[in-house]
């Protein structure tokens, strides 16, 4: 039974990371209706820039600030060069544009910074502590506290600040928001910047676990099932969806994997997502505006 719980907990922690990537999607989806395939590329870009700076002897927080600034610049550039010329186009076109964008970001990142795998030490030990028979990694616990803190900060920003209220107005009714003077391009820049900084945090936590490498970019693929389960427009939903997928994958690998001869984690999340789509199309926390037949 302890094995079951350890698997479950490890899965939940992996799921928290999925959720962290998914938050970036939710922010952008709410503000601009774009399913941003480049979110994974942004995670990779942020992590590789950060780790390169740190390897050149730059202090942790200076590197963090510099990378954040770069993510803001990237966001402004994306808004000006991709989003603005493509506004009012159908979602699939926007999705394809972000796919092109992911090629550009992945390619440019590796072109300038190389393709080596970098080890990243964020100063948290990855040791398992004994909690009454259950061994849980200290890194996992601190990482999840960071994620929870980040979600709390985002929740406060979006409910209390003027910017957050503007964002929710845009998400609720873009036309009405514009007519009362909310400037859409500004909102887009802010949201993509925040998504970029969330990508940085995700990149640091994932990168510390797996090494900073191209595979970080592929986390994007897990975001679609996570968002379908959690709901596309809810930050708590993104986290819950991530937990569902992470735990589901870990348990399926242990209990279903041996029956079918091999790891099922590449596709299990999608089957879970399709099951959710059939039963609860809006996801657990999503707005009920998904077009149903």
């Amino acid at each position: 039974m302890a094995y079951f719980f350890e698997t479950l907990i490890a899965g939940l922690f992996a799921g928290l990371m999925y959720g962290l990537v998914a938050i970036g999607f939710v922010l952008i989806y709410k503000a601009s209706g774009v399913f941003n395939f480049a979110q994974g590329a942004m995670v990779f870009l942020a992590a590789l820039v950060f780790v390169t700076l740190v390897e050149h002897g730059i202090h942790f927080w200076v590197a963090f600030a510099a990378t954040s600034a770069l993510m803001v610049l990237t966001a402004v550039a994306i808004e000006a060069l991709v989003l603005r010329p493509l506004r009012n186009r159908d979602p699939l076109t926007l999705f394809m544009a972000t796919l092109g964008l992911s090629f550009v970001i992945d390619g440019a990142t590796q072109f300038f910074l190389g393709t080596d795998v970098h080890m990243l030490d964020v100063g948290i030990d990855d040791i398992a502590d004994d909690y009454g028979g259950l061994f849980i990694s200290r890194f996992d616990i601190i990482a999840s506290l960071i994620v929870i803190a980040l979600v709390a900060v985002l929740a406060i920003v979006f409910s209390k600040t003027r910017m957050g209220v503007s964002l929710r107005a845009v998400a609720d009714d873009t036309l009405a928001a514009q007519s009362i003077g909310i400037r859409l391009p500004v909102i887009w820049r802010i949201v993509w910047s925040v998504a970029g900084i969330v990508a940085l945090v995700a990149g640091l936590l994932w990168g510390a676990r797996q090494g900073v490498q191209y595979s970080l970019s592929l986390v994007t693929l897990k975001a679609l099932p996570v968002l379908i389960i959690g709901g596309f427009s809810s930050i708590p939903g993104a986290i819950t969806g991530g937990l569902f997928v992470g735990a589901g994958e870990a348990l399926a690998d242990i209990y279903l994997g041996p029956l079918v001869g091999g790891s099922v984690s590449t596709w299990f999340a999608y089957i879970l997502a399709v099951a959710f789509l059939l039963v609860r199309p809006a996801g657990l926390f999503g707005d009920r505006d998904i077009e149903r037949v």
Partner: protein
């Protein structure tokens, strides 16, 4: 090509023979047939046939397959390559386990297998609409890659999990040479284009477009939406299954599960969007773009002879950047895809012929 049919036919003594749409269309079809079966095999070198023309035609066919589903019926698929892999692995096993079957039968059966799989993964379309549908076909993408990697039975227990093309022949004619493989590809493609046109112009095609444009109105008019959607998945996957066989057997010569990975699915999506949604011939423009751009970039980088780019990894990454940028550029500048170019060209030509 739609412009030729959309224009009001001129009748009576004033209609010149050269501006009559029906005559023009017939001339176009005849020219295409002469070029495809006579001119190209006669003048194209083996390199051109094997490395450029065959992949362009096969990828164009993949584009048509997805365009039927996405452009005409308004449904989404992010896993086209999965259905291609189902096609090639069924064809391989059919030839392996029933060697008596002639190639055309194998192709049709492979297509039908893919169609069955397509219907299954299209089932969520009965409950949901829009981009979310992508999850089911994306699941298909990962599931079949997993299936063909984990169960060696599908590749006849080969160590590398790779299947190699059987001897391609058609009632005794050897199709192994580049020209032979080209003729196989172009014949199958011509037949499927004809089939696609029939479908698109038929009641089925019109009902797909009605569902795409306004589903409620379509169902009020008596369109059986659910079965029409599943038929879209079936026909699209049938096409994709055959395309997959051509890609593996006539172009590459070998195939494994990773030949048909997510990148391939995205390439098919790019072809549809770059070539033009709801077109047939536009897909070949999109396919030419997908096939030719990397080759051109290769030559460009090699001829530029930039010293610090000696690293192959750097070149690959530079190509990714350029390719991604071109895709964004085309999406911004040409909302109707590259087929808008041919349409404009055809209009200009007609205007000149009329004067």
């Amino acid at each position: 090509m739609t412009t030729l049919q959309d224009t009001v036919p001129e009748t009576g003594p004033t209609a010149s023979i050269v501006t009559n749409p029906a005559v023009l269309r017939l001339a176009l079809v005849l020219t295409s047939i002469v070029v495809a079966f006579g001119v190209v095999p006669a003048i194209a070198t083996d390199y051109w046939l094997s490395s450029i023309i065959i992949p362009t035609i096969v990828m164009g066919l993949a584009g048509i397959s997805l365009n039927l589903l996405q452009g005409y019926a308004g449904l989404v698929s992010l896993g086209s390559a999965a259905f291609m892999s189902v096609g090639v692995f069924s064809a391989y096993n059919l030839i392996l386990r029933a060697p008596a079957l002639p190639l055309p039968v194998v192709l049709v059966l492979a297509g039908l297998t893919a169609a069955g799989v397509g219907i299954f993964f299209g089932l969520p379309a009965l409950r949901i609409k829009g981009f979310y549908l992508g999850a089911s076909t994306l699941g298909a993408q990962f599931f079949f890659q997993w299936l063909f990697t984990n169960y060696p039975w599908f590749s006849n227990n080969s160590q590398s999990l790779t299947i190699s093309a059987p001897r391609l022949e058609f009632f005794g004619y050897d199709l192994q040479s580049p020209v032979g493989r080209y003729l196989l590809v172009v014949t199958v493609t011509a037949l499927l284009i004809g089939f696609a046109f029939l479908v698109v112009k038929s009641r089925l095609g019109r009902e797909w477009m009605a569902i795409r444009d306004m589903e409620t109105a379509a169902s009020v008019l008596g369109v059986r939406v659910a079965s029409r959607k599943l038929q879209a998945y079936a026909i699209s996957s049938f096409f994709l299954g055959i395309t997959g066989v051509l890609w593996g057997f006539a172009y590459l010569g070998t195939a494994d599960a990773h030949t048909y990975n997510l990148d391939k699915s995205f390439q098919v999506l790019f072809i549809v969007l770059i070539g033009g949604t709801a077109t047939i011939f536009g897909n070949f423009l999109g396919a030419a773009f997908i096939v030719l751009t990397p080759i051109l970039l290769d030559h460009l980088v090699l001829s530029a002879n930039i010293a610090y780019l000696s690293d192959q990894g750097a070149i690959t990454n530079l190509q990714r950047v350029i390719f991604g940028a071109i895709i964004i550029f085309i999406l911004i500048k040409e909302p109707d895809g590259l087929s808008a170019w041919t349409r404009r060209g055809a209009e200009a030509l007609r205007a000149r012929l009329k004067t």
